[in-house]
Amino acid sequence: MEHVNPLTGFRVDGRRPNEMRQLRGEVGVVSRADGSALFEMGNTRVIAAVYGPREIQNRSQQVNLKEALVRCEYRMAEFSTGDRRRKPKGDRRSTEISLVIRQTMEASILTHLMPHSQIDIFVQVLQADGGTRSACINAATLALADAGIPMKDIVTSCSAGYLCSTPLLDLNYIEDSAGGPDVTVGILAKMDKVTLLQMDAKLPMDTFETVMELATEGCKAIATYIREVLLENTKQLECQRG
């Protein structure tokens, strides 16, 4: 199957190779959580809810008294995928993604400012169309900022791939399952540091560099968007407060 039209250079869904899907971010979607956000990348749609920082609920989980404990759970809705298959809760893939999100967010949260406490991040995938882990990280960043949790930097994530000898930004499900590599990158946007890097197929070294650069560019574009959303929200709250 041709994923990039050799004549026009457009992808199956009409995007250019270095074009991202439509982004949409919204904070405050779950009324009872301390912070929450919805994040969409094209048809991929996730909600994140943050509870905390609050007193540690299970003291046996406490590792370091001087830092906040960050926990994360990733869950996919039964109806989120195209083919409906019952998956047991806590399967390996979910566990791994939970761990990835937790570690990525932990790198940014200033945990030492909230000793003896825990922060729970719950991400729920409503629709999966490729790039769910990236969308989850972006949603979690928005939700954490909405909860007023201090962070060093904005963490964003984006994926890129390589199909038909073309580096492609932000793969959708069809492109993701086409057999090419899928490079998922997470960065601390301002400090320009990579916190997450995953790739699942072989790729020549020099091509890898361009693909990763493309993904990093995507991350930066998302960071700009997320900051716009947050700034707009902050201004609105401040103006209404009076």
Binding site: S31, R32, Q57, A77, E78, F79, G82, Q124
Partner: protein, 286 residues
């Protein structure tokens, strides 16, 4: 789940006795309901229902399957509910399993009838494509995104709205000899059959607190319940299913009384939903 002090509990009970609840509602008044349709494009039909701080999503997916040997003339429907940890941290991990199972089974009981499917509120025979050979399997999934009481009623309402949003593709069947009489299906991408939802019931849960009962209880009010009766009623006022929860015993006469109240309230709830569906469809069309 909800910790309340003696004074608050007393205040809630008093409010219900005096017919003025904490948010100013009377005993038989619902919270404001908002409805959106078509929120999961990948599904055949979907809806989001909000009642106060409770928010649920329902999605309907249709897949071609085979009817069971026992019931060759009926399609299959399964209902499965999950409570997202976004709604409450207590739902993380396996914490939601019990509640999810309780809600799923209660919905199945109220909407699908018994094992035979004879009393099903959803018309199962309309799902048949070829008798004994092919039928539509409907997978109905509910997701609790935010929880503040009355989840069962909200889920049933979301399912009703999602079904009214559901389009089932038209199927052209061609029987040919080459494949040993196995039918071939040509599923249309453009033509959809609208699902007939006029007979899909709503569920009204009456929560008994003290001597009185209320509809659309918040989670604080639910924590004060002695028992609750969920009745599913369709447009014609027929009772399609019923579940009683909670520890306290109920006098049969009270149950009959509650049923008649539920029946009365359900008609109001159905017309409320109808107008919300119409509004949601109008919003979609814009």
């Amino acid at each position: 789940m909800v910790g309340l002090s003696e004074g608050e509990k007393h205040f809630i009970r008093g409010g219900i006795a005096q017919d003025l609840r904490a948010d100013g509602r009377t005993r038989l008044q619902f919270r404001a309901v908002t409805v959106e349709t078509g929120i999961i494009p990948q599904a055949n039909g979907s809806a989001r229902v909000r009642m106060g701080a409770t928010e649920v999503i329902a999605s309907v997916k249709a897949e071609l399957g085979k009817p069971t040997i026992l019931h060759p003339g009926k399609g299959k429907v399964s209902i499965y509910v999950d409570c997202s940890p976004t709604a409450a941290p207590m739902f993380e991990g396996r914490g939601s399993e019990e509640l999810s199972a309780e809600l799923s089974v209660a919905l199945q009981r109220c909407l699908l009838g018994g094992k035979s499917g004879a009393g099903a509120a959803i018309d199962l025979s309309s799902l048949i494509v070829i008798e004994g050979k092919a039928c539509w399997d409907l997978y109905i999934d509910g997701l609790v995104v935010s929880s503040d009481g009355n989840l069962l009623d909200a889920l049933a309402a979301a399912i009703k709205v999602a079904l009214s949003d559901t389009g089932i593709p038209k199927v052209n069947v061609s029987l040919n000899a080459e494949t040993d009489g196995e039918p071939e299906f040509d599923i249309s991408d453009e033509d959809f059959l609208q699902f007939d939802t006029s007979s899909v019931p709503v569920i009204v849960t009456l929560t008994k607190v003290g001597k009185h009962y209320i509809v659309d209880a918040t989670s604080e009010e639910e924590s004060q319940m002695s028992s609750a009766v969920s009745v599913s009623v369709n447009r014609l006022g027929q009772i399609c299913g019923m579940t009683k929860r909670g520890g306290a015993g109920l006098d049969p006469s009270v149950i009959f009384d509650m049923i008649s109240v539920a029946k009365h309230v359900s008609q109001r709830f159905i017309s409320l939903l109808d107008s919300e569906i119409a509004a949601a469809e109008a919003a979609d069309a814009e």
